[in-house]
């Protein structure tokens, strides 16, 4: 079977989302196919925050969108709450999406500038017929309070009157309006200043507790991921490199790519500067990925085996899974 293995799958009854062998490819010219996500499997259990981390072009956003069937993947299963979303008819898919909401990177452009905050939050409630006018208004007030906004001050204003941080709060309130079970956050703090970033990360953490949410958190920022996740999955060119709990992954990365990625994060302390060998070059084209292990062309530890055989995920320490023929021990 293609893919990077399934050893990290937990297959418990607690799984909220199970993705099996997901492949997304885009045809960009007559015989040019971008292999964005290639045979990926993973599961997310209740209450977990799974972070997906990797550089631009590794397929993390494509993966998130494929889960929501935006657009549907080329092949593979996306089982959410026991139903395979890839098999659902359009109308059922629409209702399934109510319990799976997304927060986007650019909070200002993801809100309709013509709608007031009240309209923005009322829209999902009205479409899904959640309660009477008065009940909906009460719900809207509660939502705004919970994300730290004063309803009386914001209800009749439009998105362009707010800062990026405030817009992201409104987006979060809107995503929570229909009581989703799962929140998919695609780089929710990348566009924000550091002081605002901390506010939004803390808000997401408390929303997760209050609403009992399960989260998929996509980011390129390893420091942000460490602060918010309970499990981390590192991606490279459409494949999984490593899956582990954050403290393990950051202190003893087993994949050469994970280690290289960690070594390139600048640490805000002049006494803790590491000057190791940097990762050279840039990722190869996803139209023509290397054979075997996709990272081998930039890997210091690559051998002949790496070009011949694709490494499968295997457990190297408790809860830590790595797809590498020569993991760092």
């Amino acid at each position: 079977m293609a893919g990077s293995g399934t050893a990290h799958m937990r297959n418990t009854v607690d799984s909220v989302l199970t993705v099996r062998d997901l492949t997304v490819e885009f045809r960009v010219a007559k015989d040019k196919i971008v292999k964005a996500v290639s045979g990926l499997s993973f599961d997310v259990v209740r209450g977990e925050t799974l972070a997906i981390v990797g550089e631009s072009g590794c397929g993390k956003t494509t993966l998130a969108r494929a889960i929501l069937q935006l657009p549907p993947p080329n092949s593979g299963e996306v089982v959410f709450d026991g139903t395979d979303l890839t098999l659902l008819p359009k109308e059922n898919l629409r209702s399934a999406r109510t319990s799976m909401q997304m927060i986007f990177q650019d909070p200002i452009s993801s809100l309709n500038p013509r709608m007031t905050v009240h309209q923005l939050l009322d829209e999902p409630l009205e479409i899904w017929d959640r309660g009477t006018r008065a009940e909906r208004d009460e719900r809207i007030n509660k939502l705004l309070f919970s994300v730290g906004l004063e309803p009386d001050l914001v209800l009749n204003r439009r998105s362009y009157e707010f800062s990026g941080g405030q817009c992201q709060r409104i987006s979060i309130a809107r995503a929570l309006a229909l009581d989703p079970r799962m929140l998919i956050c695609d780089e929710p703090v990348s566009a924000l200043d550091v002081s605002i970033q901390a506010q939004i990360l803390n808000l997401l953490l408390s929303m997760k507790e209050t609403f009992g949410l399960t989260m998929l958190f996509i980011s390129h920022d390893l420091a942000v991921v460490k602060a918010i996740s309970t499990r981390v999955m590192v991606m490279y060119l459409g494949k999984i490199c490593e899956v582990a709990p954050p403290d393990v992954l950051y202190s003893q990365p087993a994949h050469h790519y994970t280690r290289a990625l960690l070594n390139s994060v600048p640490i805000p302390d002049p006494t803790k500067q590491i000057r190791t060998e940097l990762l050279q070059g840039e990722p190869p084209s996803p139209m023509n990925p290397p054979s075997g292990c996709r990272f081998r062309t930039r890997c210091a530890g690559a051998s002949a085996l790496c070009s011949e055989q694709e490494p499968q995920l295997r457990e190297v320490s408790s809860g830590q899974f790595v797809a590498c023929h020569h993991p760092i021990v």
């Binding site: 901390a198 918010i228 640490i267 500067q273 990762l279």
Partner: protein
């Protein structure tokens, strides 16, 4: 130590429909020759405007700049636009955050790198091309001959930033302004570009002003740091000194609010409540007072002056962390 660039009491105001916007407010800073100085702050703190105003890049009827800027013995603020421009390339150069918009999309890379060489150094077309290829190799662009003939859209973000650096160093400038040079890049590419800048600075004996919002980038790449808030420099010290013994509450709050890979996972971040003050209506006292956990009454009424410790550590605070020395 002699200073290569010295900015004295520089303010920059923009006329806007809402009134005068004070982007930079009475900035004093010395950039010592051969050193790398970081300028750090959030969006809107005035770091980019300060650099552009120092180079004389902000022009037009709505811009009011006051104060003095002296670069390498030339008083830029007393020179004409044309005279200042003579210094661009061989005296000062700048690289920008977004290399795609900074490069001309319809001209080949070779022509853009060679432009400065031909104008500033009077090279012939063919000599300039040979030198351009060498410059691309110097910034470690693989297959430089082919890249000379490419257009910007054919290159990746990291490669474009390398081209920008090649253009900036083409005429051996004494001072390089790097305005968020790695913000648009992936971490692994960022690390490569920062390493390249460190090596080039050493080889070419070039000073650098590195503008960034990232304290991590500052920590590993600068000798001095200036922290900006609401248009002012609020703290200035050698980098190791600043991180070991910060005096300004804003700097401390900024550092505490960033998530770090060297901290335990799941730790809640400290938050700086509130927002930057409105640049058209600066508060009477300290600009940070409404957000500062150490603020006292005096902070909201009296604007703090710059103070210097005996070791040269400069800060703008009535009640600095660690008390007055």
């Amino acid at each position: 130590m002699s200073s290569l660039l010295s900015i004295k009491n520089m303010s920059v105001n923009f006329d806007t429909p809402r009134g005068s916007l004070e982007a930079v407010r009475g900035v004093d800073i010395e950039i010592p020759a051969g050193m790398s100085v970081g300028v750090v702050g959030e969006s809107g703190s005035g770091k980019t405007v300060m650099c552009r105003a120092a180079m004389g890049l902000l022009q037009g009827s709505t811009v009011n700049r006051t104060g003095t800027v002296i670069f390498d013995g030339h008083e830029l603020t007393a020179m004409s636009k044309e005279q200042v421009r003579e210094l661009f390339g061989s005296g000062m150069a700048m690289i920008f955050q977004d290399p795609l918009t900074a490069l001309n999309p319809v001209r080949r890379i070779g022509v853009q790198v060679a432009e400065g060489l031909r104008i500033r150094l009077g090279m012939s077309k063919s000599d300039a091309m040979v030198r351009s290829k060498e410059l691309l190799e110097l910034v470690r662009i693989p297959n430089a001959a082919a890249v000379l003939k490419s257009f910007p859209y054919q290159l990746s973000g990291g490669m474009r930033q390398r081209v920008m650096i090649a253009i900036a160093i083409a005429c051996n400038p004494k001072l390089l302004f790097a305005d968020e040079p790695t913000t648009a890049l992936d971490v692994t590419v960022q690390a490569q570009i920062l390493q390249l800048l460190r090596e080039l600075r050493e080889d070419l004996k070039m000073s650098m002003v590195l503008v960034t919002h990232d304290l991590g980038v500052v920590a590993g790449n600068t000798d001095y740091v200036a922290v900006m808030y609401a248009g002012e420099i609020v703290e200035y010290a050698p980098t190791t000194k600043l991180f070991a013994d910060m005096r300004m509450p804003y700097t401390e709050a900024l550092l505490d609010s960033i998530p770090r890979v060297d901290h335990k996972s799941g730790t809640r971040l400290s938050v700086i409540a509130g927002r930057l003050p409105d640049p058209t209506h600066r508060p009477a006292g300290c600009g940070f007072a409404p957000r500062c956990k150490y603020a006292q009454e005096k902070c909201t009424t009296d604007h703090p002056e710059l103070k210097a410790d005996p070791d040269g550590h400069i800060y703008r605070c009535w009640f600095p962390i660690g008390g007055a020395l």
